[in-house]
């Protein structure tokens, strides 16, 4: 389980998170939505202690990542929005390195790597340098690295961006499998159709505050919206703004 209790984070004057209280339960797929700059990545980074809250509490399976980031990183599999990898290593070398940092025994590691690279169709790139891979293939390596230690909590920041349809489909199935196994699953995205199709629970963030929470169906019903896009725009109070913008620009 991943929980945030009255979490606030300030960057100078900017309130990146403003009293966020939310619980991402295990066993379901959680999606985190929100306009650019609403605080999604900040929230996710807190789960592995990369950002500390100014006030409030974050807990991953009972561990406080700001106090014990090392323990949190053992529990969480985190794939950042920006891909960070060693460009002069091959995926095989990187999997070996990260696997050993997690202390995974050799046979287990081999098995997991084999499964992951077959799922993501990375076999033929295993001997190439990561700097030579395409963006989407780097994204796949980054996601596979996050899943390498069989984490109880899976946190993926915009994992679908750059993935081809096949890999996207695989990732969706994988998230479902993890949720069914009782793990905590959280991903962020800007593609609302994707969130609607994949997620059981949706959290909408706006200007550092939670402005919507519930299943896609709940959200639509509560906001009297026909689709998730309308619900999203209503929840964030952006539907008026969008209408005005379109009117002033094109008079539509």
């Amino acid at each position: 389980m991943l929980s945030y209790l009255d979490v606030t984070k300030l960057y100078g004057e900017v309130k990146a998170l403003d009293g966020v209280t939310v619980e991402f339960r295990s066993g379901v797929i959680n999606a985190l939505l929100g306009p650019n700059g609403s605080g999604k990545s900040t929230m996710m980074k807190m789960s592995v202690g990369l950002v500390r809250p100014d006030s409030g509490q974050v807990r991953v399976d009972g561990v406080d990542p700001s106090k014990d980031p090392v323990a949190a990183r053992r529990i969480v599999g985190y794939s950042p929005e920006e891909i960070v990898l060693y460009e002069s290593l091959t995926p095989a070398e990187l999997f070996s390195f990260v696997g050993s940092i997690h202390g995974i025994p050799k046979e287990t590691l081999k098995e997991r790597v084999n499964t992951l690279i077959r799922l993501f169709r990375l076999e033929e790139y295993m001997g190439k340098l990561i700097g030579e891979l395409s963006h989407g293939n780097r994204r796949k390596v980054s996601i596979a690295l996050a899943l390498l230690h069989d984490p109880r909590v899976v946190i993926l920041d915009e994992p679908f961006s750059g993935l081809d349809p096949q890999a996207g489909k695989i990732l969706k199935e994988l998230l479902r499998k993890y949720a069914n196994e009782g793990r905590t699953v959280l991903f962020s995205t800007h593609v609302l159709e994707l969130a609607e199709a994949v997620a059981d629970r949706i959290t909408i963030l706006h200007q550092g505050r939670v402005v919507g929470f519930g299943s896609p169906k709940d959200l639509k019903e509560r906001l009297a919206a026909a689709d998730l896009e309308t619900a999203f725009l209503k929840a964030t109070g952006l539907s008026e703004e969008v209408r005005e913008l379109l009117e002033t620009l094109w008079g539509s």
Binding site: E93, F97, E132
Partner: protein
């Protein structure tokens, strides 16, 4: 405002912002290189260089024969320091991808060249010319030889351009990865030679001292830049031609270097489009993986490999060589001192671990997502250093065995190895503690400029004292018994160093 000056402004601002951000909110102090304005970033260097320049040229005020050798040597200093500093700045520019946003814009190469030049001057390049100019002015004023001021200034400027050019060329090679092993090996050798120029600092004062009794310098040297500049000031015709040609060549090299750098920055990190072998790969596991990863990165990065080997092995060797020579030519017999020398050698070499951090470059950001403590990182880096230079341990041992008997050779290998690992751990713990809190790329600028210098200085003092303490019995008494006592002392000291290093890295429990 011209476009190049806007580019320069953006580069300087961007680098300074990133440095400040890396330092994190808690350490608000500005980081070296980039903080401060034109005056602030050049002031200290300018003062140091001015002091050195005036000091070197005092002799020439009284004796005309000193003008050419001294101003020539000062020119070499400017060139080496300038090229070295530029190469490491360029490494930062490329690792941080500072030029990348520009690569899609319609800017010309000459805009970039001027921007780089002015950023280089801004970041401390200006101070370089103070190696030559104050001395030249002093000579000119005291001796009433105004041509010396003119040619001295020209020398300083030409050398600055050349230093930038060479720095760009060398620096733009470094973050490029090439799959060709031969080309990587050649680059490593080239870098070692470049660093090896430090030898000149050792040789030149001897040479210069040699001029004292003779009349002037050998005739051919008058034509060799930078010695040709002061010679031109004295009216040597051929030297005038040679100096002007050299100045022209310098600006050509600057052009070529800046062009290469620009292409390197805008064409991604790989030197060659690869017809990569996609075939074999294996998954391995175990505690040695971090070591394997670092060795692999070293293998891909000739500049870092050369730096590490140089600072861990060759640098100390250059210092030790004259001592060894003295010891060997004396009748004292080198063997009695070998274990203590090994201790000193290993202790000083530990500072080389500094480069193994910069090795991670942008990949370091990944480490922040992993369950790693700073102490673990520190130990891994120390281990990598020990593994990288362990072939040298064997060479030291063989040399020791040949020149001083098996026992002393063996003891020297042991003291060298233990102290190197221990000292590397101590250095590594100090550095790991200072790593940025926020996930960031690690470069040589991650640690403040003076850090390596301070560490090396401290090591010279500490391990110099330790080695000296170990040789006391052998010096005082002589005889087999006292030699054994010296050896035992050196061994105990090196074991103690290792113990301390191990303790420090163990105690470092902060997460990365």
């Amino acid at each position: 405002m011209a476009r190049w000056s806007e580019i320069a402004g953006i580069l300087a601002k961007e680098a300074s912002y990133r440095a400040r951000r890396r330092a994190g909110a808690e350490r608000s102090r500005l980081i070296k290189l980039v903080g401060g304005g034109l005056v602030r970033s050049n002031l200290l260097g300018a003062l140091l260089f001015t002091g050195m320049s005036l000091f070197f040229c005092i002799g020439a005020v009284f004796d005309q024969r000193f003008i050419v050798p001294m101003m020539g040597v000062l020119g070499l200093v400017e060139l080496l320091v300038g090229a070295f500093a530029t190469a490491s700045t360029v490494h930062v520019i490329l690792t941080e991808g500072l030029l990348e946003p520009l690569s899609t814009l319609p800017v010309t190469e000459s805009d970039i060249r001027l921007a780089l030049l002015s950023v280089g001057v801004y970041w401390g390049g200006l101070s370089m010319v103070f190696a030559v100019i104050p001395g030249a002015l002093l000579i000119a004023a005291r001796r009433g030889m105004w041509t010396v001021a003119l040619w001295g200034t020209l020398e300083a400027v030409a050398l600055l351009l050349l230093a930038f050019g060479v720095g760009y060329l060398l620096g733009s090679l470094s973050p490029k990865y090439t799959r060709s092993r031969i080309s990587r090996a050649l680059q490593t050798v080239a870098w070692l030679l470049f660093f090896g120029f430090g030898l000149l600092f050792q040789l030149l004062p001897h040479q210069a001292a040699g001029f004292e009794g003779e009349a002037g310098v050998p005739g051919w040297l008058l034509l060799v830049p930078p010695f040709s500049f002061p010679a031109a000031a004295l009216g040597v015709r051929e030297a005038i031609a040679s100096s002007l040609a050299f100045a022209a060549l310098s600006s050509v090299i600057l052009r070529v270097g800046a062009g290469r750098l620009w292409r390197a920055a805008s064409s991604g990190r790989f030197a060659l489009p690869t017809s990569a072998p996609t075939g074999k790969w294996v998954i391995t596991a175990g505690r040695l993986q971090p070591l394997k990863k670092d060795l692999r990165l070293l293998g891909m990065n000739p500049r870092m490999l050369a730096s590490t080997v140089y600072y861990a092995v060759i640098g100390p060797a250059i210092v030790i060589a004259p001592m060894l020579a003295d010891v060997m030519t004396g009748d004292s017999g080198i063997s009695r001192f070998l274990p203590a020398i090994g201790l000193f050698f290993g202790g000083v070499g530990g500072a080389g671990v500094y480069y193994l951090y910069a090795l991670d470059a942008e990949g370091a950001r990944l480490l922040y997502h992993l369950p790693l403590t700073r102490g673990e990182v520190a130990r891994q880096k120390a281990l990598t250093l020990a593994a990288t230079v362990s072939p040298i341990v064997l060479i030291v041992g063989v040399v020791g065995a040949l020149s001083g008997g098996m026992l002393a050779g063996l003891a020297a290998v042991v003291t060298y190895g233990l102290t190197l690992l221990g000292s590397a751990m101590l250095n590594s713990a100090i550095l790991a503690k200072r790593l940025p809190r926020e996930p960031s790329a690690w470069t040589q600028e991650t640690f403040s400029k003076g850090t390596l210098g301070l560490l090396m200085l401290a090591e010279f003092v500490v391990f110099g004292a330790a080695a000296a303490a170990a040789v006391v019995p052998a010096m005082l008494f002589g005889g087999v018994g006292s030699d054994l006592l010296s050896t035992a002392l050196a061994l105990i000291e090196s074991i103690f160093t290792l113990y301390l290093g191990w303790k420090w890295t163990r105690g470092l429990r902060d997460p990365l």
